[in-house]
C-alpha cells in the first residue's frame, strides 16, 4: 500500500491550483504551442480543422451523458412530477394519477418539522465533516511521519474499517453500544465510570447522535487520511527544506507549505464528505430509526419516513427535491470555486 500510495501521490490532488509548481514537474510552455509538435502527431489545438477532432470530446462524453440522462435524468423528472401528485398505496396499486398541484410542497414548507429537521441536518453535517477533515488530516500527517512497517499496519487497519460494509458496521456498532450487553458500557464501567454501566445510548438525542457520529467518522476517516497521505508525498522536499531554512516551526511548515499545496485536495475531499455525510442513511436509520421521538432524523431519514416508509410517495418525492436544494446551497461555494478553476484549466490547454 505504501509504495503504491507514494506513487499515487498528487494524483489524488487535482492538478489545479498548486501554489508555485515545483521546478522539475512542469516544463515551461513555449508560446507557440503548435510549433513544438511534430507534424506526425495530432494537435487538437492546431489549426487543423479535422471535424473529427472537434467531435472527439463529445463522442467521449456521450456514453456518460447518455447514461446520466436516461438513468438519472428521467427518474428525476418522474420524481419531480410525482412531487406534484398524491401518490399513496391506492394510487400506486391502481395506477392512478392524482394531481395535487403544489399541495405537497405547501404542506412540507409549512410544517415546523421540516425546518427543524433541515437545521438539524446542517448542524449534524457540519460537525461530522469538521471532525472527519481535522482528524483525517492529522492521521494523514501521522502516516507521513511513520516508518514503513507501522505505516502499513495503520493503513491496513484503516482500509479494513473503510471497506467494511455499512450495514455490517452499523450492526456491530449497535451491538457495541447496547445498554445491557455492550462492550462500551462494560469498558466504561471497568474504568471506574459506574454511572455508565447500563447507560442507554439511544435514550436521548445527543447520545444517539454521538454514537452515529462515532460510526460515521470512524468509517469516513480512512478515506481522508489515506488520500491526504498520498497527496503529501507529492510535495517536493525542496519546499520543506526551504521553509525550515527560513526557521519555520512545525505549524508554520504546515500553514505555509503543506496546506497551500494541498488546497485543491482539501476542497475536493470536503465537497465529497459534505455530500456523503448529508446523505448518510443506514447509519442513522439502523441505530434508532431516527429516534428517540424522531429527534435524530436528518433530511434523508425524514424523506424516507414521510415518503417511502408511510407509502406517501408524492410527499417523499417533494421532500427529496427540497433536499437537493439544501445540499446545493451547502456546496455552492465549492461548486463555484471548481468551475472557476475549470476556466483556468481550459484556457491553459
Amino acid at each position: 500500500m505504501a509504495a503504491q500510495l507514494d506513487d499515487a501521490v498528487g494524483k489524488a490532488a487535482p492538478r489545479t491550483g498548486k501554489g508555485g509548481g515545483p521546478p522539475g514537474r512542469r516544463t515551461p510552455r513555449p508560446p507557440e504551442h503548435g510549433a513544438v509538435r511534430p507534424p506526425a502527431g495530432r494537435t487538437p489545438r492546431s489549426a487543423a480543422p479535422g471535424s473529427s477532432a472537434r467531435r472527439t470530446p463529445y463522442l467521449l462524453l456521450l456514453p456518460a451523458l447518455l447514461a446520466t440522462a436516461v438513468l438519472l435524468g428521467w427518474p428525476m423528472v418522474r420524481n419531480l412530477l410525482l412531487s406534484f401528485q398524491n401518490l399513496n398505496m391506492k394510487e400506486l396499486i391502481q395506477h392512478l394519477t392524482d394531481w395535487r398541484g403544489t399541495g405537497n410542497y405547501q404542506e412540507i414548507l409549512g410544517s415546523e418539522q421540516f425546518w427543524r429537521v433541515t437545521l438539524r441536518t446542517l448542524v449534524f453535517t457540519a460537525v461530522n465533516v469538521v471532525l472527519i477533515m481535522v482528524l483525517g488530516v492529522l492521521i494523514g500527517l501521522l502516516l507521513a511521519r511513520l516508518g514503513k512497517k507501522m505505516r502499513l499496519t495503520l493503513s491496513l487497519a484503516l482500509v479494513l474499517a473503510w471497506a467494511m460494509p455499512v450495514i455490517a458496521a452499523t450492526t456491530v456498532f449497535q451491538w457495541l453500544f447496547d445498554s445491557r450487553y455492550g462492550v462500551v458500557n462494560w469498558l466504561l464501567d471497568q474504568a471506574g465510570w459506574h454511572a455508565m454501566a447500563h447507560y442507554d445510548w439511544v435514550g436521548t438525542q445527543l447520545s444517539t447522535f454521538s454514537v452515529i457520529t462515532v460510526l460515521i467518522v470512524w468509517q469516513s476517516l480512512p478515506f481522508v487520511a489515506l488520500n491526504l497521505y498520498a497527496a503529501t508525498t507529492t510535495i517536493p522536499r525542496e519546499l520543506y527544506e526551504a521553509a525550515r531554512m527560513d526557521g519555520a516551526g512545525t505549524w508554520q511548515v504546515f500553514t505555509s507549505v503543506t496546506f497551500p499545496f494541498l488546497k485543491p485536495f482539501f476542497l475536493a475531499t470536503t465537497f465529497l464528505e459534505i455530500i456523503w455525510v448529508f446523505k448518510a442513511f443506514p447509519q442513522i436509520f439502523a441505530i434508532n430509526e431516527g429516534g428517540p421521538d424522531r429527534l435524530t432524523e436528518t433530511l434523508p431519514i425524514y424523506a424516507f419516513t414521510e415518503g417511502v416508509g408511510n407509502l406517501h410517495f408524492g410527499m417523499g418525492a417533494a421532500i427529496s427535491l427540497l433536499t437537493i436544494v439544501v445540499l446545493l446551497a451547502m456546496t455552492a461555494h465549492y461548486l463555484r470555486l471548481t468551475l472557476r478553476q475549470e476556466r483556468h484549466e481550459e484556457n491553459e490547454l
Partner: protein
C-alpha cells in the same frame, strides 16, 4: 547521544499513537468476525467474551444454508462487476475529455456531474420502480446493473478527472513524438499511471453496488433474481435478530470486498513506473 535519544523518543509517540489508532479502527471489524464464531450464549453476556474460545461454525452454516444463497451471491458478483466495469470505462472516457480537451459546454457538463453526485437514490426508488415496471423489465439483472453503474459514475468520473489531470501532458507528448497516435499514447503511457485512481474508484464502486438494498427490494422480487443484501436482511426478522447469524452473514458479505482490496492493491503497485512520473 542526545540526538539519538530524542530521535528514538521522536519515533515513539507516532508509533504508539499509530498502534492505538490501528487497534481502534480494527476493533469493530474484529468484533464482527469474532461474534460470528461465538455460540449464541456467548453473544448476549454481561461480560464481553473477548475471544471466541468456544468457537462454532454453526452461524456460518445457518447463513449459507439460507435459500438461494449461492444464486444471490452469483447475482451480486455479476451485477457489481459489470456495473463497476462499465462505469470505469465510461468515466475514464469522459474524464479524459473533461481534462484534456477544450470544447464548448465543458463547464456545464462538469457541473452536471457534480450535481449528479447529490442524487437522492433512496427516495427515487419509487420513480425508478414505476419506470422499470411500465417498461416490463422487472425481475431482471439488467436494469439493476444500469442503475448501479450510474450510482457510481459521478464519483468515479470526478475522481478520475483528478488523476488524469495529474499526469503531465509532456508524457503524452513525448510518446507522440516517438510516433504514437494519441490513442496509443493514452493507452501506453497515461493509462498505467491511472492505476491507483482506478483502484480507488473501483473499490468505492464495488462497495456501493455490493451494499445496495432499497432498489433491489422492489425491482427484483423473484427470489432467484435478488442480491446478497436481501439475503443479509433476513437474519433480522420478527423472530428477533439472530445476532450470531447476522454477524456470520455480515462477515461473509464483507469478505469479497476485503479480498478485492488486497488484490487491487497488489496490481496497482505492480503497474507503476515511478521514474516517469516524478521526473
Amino acid at each position: 547521544m542526545k540526538r539519538a535519544v530524542s530521535a528514538t523518543a521522536g519515533r515513539l509517540w507516532p508509533n504508539a499513537t499509530a498502534l492505538v489508532l490501528a487497534a481502534g479502527f480494527v476493533f469493530p471489524v474484529y468484533w464482527m468476525f469474532s461474534t460470528a464464531f461465538k455460540p449464541t450464549r456467548d453473544i448476549i453476556t454481561d461480560e464481553p467474551v473477548w475471544f471466541p474460545f468456544h468457537g462454532t461454525a454453526e452461524h456460518f452454516a445457518t447463513a449459507v444454508r439460507a435459500p438461494h444463497f449461492w444464486t444471490l451471491a452469483g447475482n451480486s458478483v455479476l451485477v457489481t462487476v459489470l456495473a463497476v466495469g462499465l462505469s470505469l470505462v465510461i468515466a475514464l472516457c469522459a474524464a479524459f475529455a473533461l481534462t484534456r480537451m477544450r470544447f464548448r459546454g465543458r463547464r456545464g457538463i462538469l457541473l452536471t456531474f457534480m450535481i449528479a453526485q447529490m442524487a437522492p437514490w433512496e427516495v427515487m426508488v419509487i420513480s425508478i420502480y414505476m419506470i422499470v415496471r411500465d417498461a416490463d423489465l422487472l425481475n431482471s439483472l439488467a436494469p439493476l446493473t444500469c442503475f448501479y453503474m450510474l450510482m457510481v459514475l459521478p464519483f468515479t468520473l470526478l475522481t478520475l478527472r483528478g488523476y488524469v489531470a495529474a499526469v503531465p501532458r509532456e508524457l503524452e507528448e513525448s510518446a507522440m513524438v516517438d510516433g504514437c497516435s494519441r490513442r496509443q499514447a493514452f493507452l501506453k503511457v497515461v493509462f498505467p499511471l491511472l492505476a491507483p485512481g482506478l483502484m480507488a474508484t473501483s473499490l468505492f464502486g464495488f462497495i456501493t453496488a455490493w451494499n445496495e438494498f432499497p432498489l433491489v427490494l422492489v425491482l427484483n422480487k423473484e427470489p432467484a433474481m435478488g442480491t446478497l443484501p436481501l439475503w443479509l436482511s433476513q437474519f433480522q426478522s420478527q423472530f428477533g435478530d439472530d445476532w450470531g447469524a447476522t454477524m456470520a452473514a455480515a462477515s461473509i458479505f464483507a469478505v469479497p470486498i476485503l479480498i478485492l482490496f488486497l488484490f487491487l492493491q497488489r496490481k496497482a503497485v505492480g503497474g507503476l513506473t515511478s521514474g516517469a512520473v516524478k521526473g
